[in-house]
């Protein structure tokens, strides 16, 4: 109704001077931003630039210290997320918004104001998910799902609310290129229907392709309003970072026969729970000096593979996994670390680091077995000095930015914590490094740094296995790419022979000749 009254101006959202202060830090400093109806507006910035704080104020999760929000020509205050939803602002969160103990349909139901029965909601969600190519089982418990699958629920949930403005926080990080394309089609359809979208992403190519306008934040301030189509990825990156982002360089392999440092043969694992994926006869070899990338849509067994390799899940036979020629299928995580392996799991908080412990304590937690001599005293006492020095070394090497000395892990932004966690493993110069989603939700600057560090480690003679859903990343760093689908691993494609299309087809589970749509339908039916 309001759309009719003041629709002629075209202005949907008009934010002026929005400011938020945490202690002495100005997270957002007088931000101006306008969004028109039927516009896809990009919000760019490195982690810690204030993007999340800004959108949380728009969504009523944080209270601004100063500034005004104009909505459909009226000035509004948004005291709660509920109020934001009633105004017509929907949000797809990056973190903390799904209930793990509830099913997908129950999660969706909670965010809808109407009182429709659960079966009807499940049906609508299923239909919508099919339309947009985001396969979804409404009755799966969220706790059993991967990051990518959870994100699908978030997107579907937001679309079902029929908002006028949709805020999307890094929506494509976990989709296949084909799925991302479908999402872009969806977003373009929504734009043609007159909806507006505030699109937060680190993927500059995507922003250039999709967005009509962009606002770039740096250190809590607006540094530029621009038309991303007129910019290059490099110029956008420069605005975000303030200086040029160094391109990741992948020096050619020195050549010669390299020792196989990680060998996996005949790795099978039954599904641990009704929603998990069984592993089927996985076979792979990573040689010294090599980066092997494993691509795949979320939830095709990558998590299960990582657990099997890291020793979180043991194998039946010791010979199934070999690190530096030693059978280690029956060894624990510490046992495998002692053989020279390092592991970086997918979830930073809760898996990669204990959220409410300090960085130095987190360092000790992962390295007490391998570096006990230098970090621990004779009676198992902690050598504070050595520990702090090691933590500081990692912070320095990886350029981890944080407030205060030795803060809790949860106090770091995602990108900075990830740099620390990767740095914690690199610091040991592991002979074998296995990383799951190294740069998920990490900004361009930090991601480039992490990728370069992985390549450098390989070139210095280690074997690096990277599991990722980000194809750009895999093409940037890998010497060969294998694809996981439904618990099976394809033969590795040397990087020279791999193309987005080939890998994308394998990710969809399609043998040449089949279409991706069929593969997606199959996935839905299986789910």
């Amino acid at each position: 109704m309001e759309t009719q009254r003041d629709g002629e101006a075209g202005g949907l959202l008009d934010v002026r001077g929005l400011t938020k202060v945490f202690g002495t830090l100005k997270a957002c400093d007088a931000i101006d931003l306008t969004i028109d109806r039927g516009e896809i507006h990009a919000l760019l910035g490195e982690n810690g630039a204030g993007k999340s704080t800004f959108v949380k104020m728009l969504f009523g999760a944080l209270e601004p210290a100063a500034g005004t929000i104009g909505w459909k020509g009226r000035q509004v205050t948004i005291p709660t997320p509920g109020a934001a939803r009633r105004l017509g602002i929907g949000m797809v969160f990056q973190h903390f918004s799904l209930f793990e103990a509830l099913t997908a349909a129950e999660n969706i139901m909670l965010s809808l104001d109407e009182k429709a029965p659960i079966m009807q909601i499940a049906e609508r969600a299923r239909a919508l998910s099919k339309t947009y190519g985001l396969p979804l089982d409404p009755f799966a418990h969220v706790g059993d799902l991967s990051v990518g699958e959870r994100q699908r629920i978030e997107i579907i949930r937001c679309l079902l609310q029929k908002p006028d403005l949709i805020i999307l926080d890094e929506p494509t990080s976990v989709l296949t290129p084909q799925e991302a394309d479908k999402l872009f089609d969806t977003l373009e359809t929504l734009r043609d229907e007159g909806k507006s979208i505030l699109y937060i992403s680190h993927r500059l190519e995507e922003v250039k392709r999709l967005c009509d306008r962009a606002t770039v934040l740096r250190h809590g301030r607006v540094v530029a309003h621009c038309d991303p189509r007129q910019e290059t990825a490099a110029s956008l990156a420069r605005m975000m970072v303030g200086n040029d982002v160094e391109a990741v360089s992948r020096p050619a392999d020195a050549g010669g026969a390299h020792e196989a440092l990680l060998e996996v043969s005949g790795l099978s694992r039954p599904a641990a729970n009704p929603f998990a994926v069984p592993l089927r006869e996985i076979r792979l070899t990573v040689r010294a000096g090599q980066v092997l990338g494993i691509a795949g849509v979320a939830g095709n067994g990558q998590g299960e593979l990582f657990e099997a390799l890291s020793g979180e899940a043991l194998q039946e036979h010791a010979g199934v996994v070999r690190i530096r020629g030693m059978d280690c299928g029956r060894l624990s995580i510490s046992g495998r670390r002692l053989l020279g392996a390092g592991f970086v799991p997918e979830e930073r908080l809760g898996h990669g680091a204990a959220p409410h412990m300090r960085l130095s304590e987190n360092l000790l937690l992962s390295r007490h077995a391998t570096d006990g001599k230098s970090l621990l005293g004779p009676l198992g006492t902690v050598r504070e000095g050595a520990l702090t020095a090691a933590a500081e070394r990692i912070v320095e090497t990886m350029d981890v930015r944080m407030s205060g000395t030795d803060p809790e892990a949860a106090a770091l932004s995602g990108g900075n914590l990830q740099k620390f966690i990767i740095g914690r493993e690199l610091d040991r110069q592991p002979a074998v490094l296995i990383v799951n989603q190294p740069t998920w939700g990490v900004d361009a600057g930090a991601a480039a740094r992490i990728r370069q560090a992985l390549i450098d480690l390989a070139r210095s003679g280690s074997a690096v296995l990277v599991i990722s859903q980000d194809l750009d990343e895999l093409f940037e760093i890998s010497d060969a790419i294998a694809v996981m689908h439904d618990g099976r691993l394809s033969a590795p494609l040397p990087i020279a022979e791999a193309s987005f299309e080939k890998v994308g087809l394998l990710m969809g589970g399609a043998a040449p000749g089949h279409t991706i749509d069929n593969a997606l339908d199959n996935a839905t039916e299986q789910a």
Binding site: A61, P81, A83, R85, L102, E106, L110, K115, H141, A272
Partner: protein, 304 residues
């Protein structure tokens, strides 16, 4: 013989069941209220006092429910509004309840009480073996069964129940969706208090119609253990309450027929059973994940 044993088991199980089903709702909302014992004993003394003063056991029951709820709201104010530690506050509530009830109840010691009589449902109560057990009980027995059914339906088949579970699972997400976390928890805590008060009234108006100091004798703690034993599922609370009731009654019958099991061992049995069940349920990660409220006992302070 069989039927009278069943009836005594029901008498022992009902107060546990009522208190536990209330606490289950509280814990499903993410709040751990260890003050069940204190709220129960307040209900017991209020129920007894009001019943003998007014001459109406029903008024006593009603007053006990109100006092239980009011007492729990004290806990709610401290833990939800002032964000005190839930464990410490719950323990304090128990000690406070035991103390105050002793003081109020001083005047009632030795006084004859009023008993809430059984209600026999015609025809059904004449069924062989189970007729009297199921259909000729005191009114609170029926209420306890209805409570279990009602809570189960509420939690798993209503939107309000879904909201309550969501708050217990992840209060940050619930807040982000615009659910009023603190309000939901207040309501749950008050319901838990009302149930504990009712369970207390059962003790002083049905089980032993008189006032004895400390007459709850640890039943509040068993109720707490029961919730965990039942892995936060209402119908399992019913099963658990009758199992624990049977154990405590079995102890008496065992003594009568001369089997000497140390009574201390039998009193410890419910807790032992709880530990065993905890071990069993934690083996099934999925089951634990789906049923355990992950925010249990965690304070909620929204960032503003």
């Amino acid at each position: 013989m069989f039927e009278s044993v069943l009836i005594t088991i029901a008498t022992a199980a009902t107060p546990l069941l009522i208190a536990a089903i209330g606490e289950l709702v509280v814990e499903r909302s993410g709040v751990l209220n260890l003050g069940v014992e204190g709220m129960m004993i307040m209900g017991a003394v209020t129920g007894f006092g009001v019943a003998i003063t007014t001459g109406s056991p029903w008024l006593g029951v009603f007053a006990a429910v109100l006092v239980g709820a009011a007492f729990s709201l004290l806990f709610g104010f401290l833990t939800l509004t002032l964000v005190t530690n839930q464990v410490a506050t719950g323990l304090a509530l128990t000690l406070l309840g035991l103390g105050i009830s002793g003081m109020i109840g001083e005047a009632f010691i030795g006084m004859p009480g009023l008993k809430l009589g059984p209600i026999a449902i015609p025809v059904l109560s004449d069924l062989p073996y189970v007729g009297r057990f199921l259909f000729a009980q005191d009114p609170l027995f029926y209420i306890s069964i209805l409570l279990v059914a009602g809570v189960s339906y509420f939690l798993f088949y209503t939107r309000a129940g879904l909201t309550l579970r969501s708050v217990g699972d992840n209060h940050d997400s619930a807040h982000a969706l615009g659910i009023r976390v603190v309000a939901v928890r207040y309501a749950a805590v008050a319901f838990g208090g009302a149930c504990a008060g009712l369970a207390g009234a059962y003790l002083s108006l049905v089980y032993t119609p008189q006032w004895i100091e400390n007459m709850t004798a640890g039943r509040g703690w068993i109720a707490l253990a029961l919730v965990v034993f039942a892995s936060w599922r209402p119908w399992r609370v019913l099963a658990g309450a009758y199992l624990f009731g049977a154990v405590s009654i079995g102890q008496l019958h065992a003594q009568v027929i001369g089997v000497s099991i140390p009574s201390q061992f039998l009193s410890a049995l419910p807790y032992l059973a709880t530990i065993v069940v905890l071990v069993l349920i934690s083996r099934n990660r999925r089951l634990t994940m789906v049923n355990t409220p992950s925010c249990l006992g965690r304070p909620f302070v929204p960032a503003r």
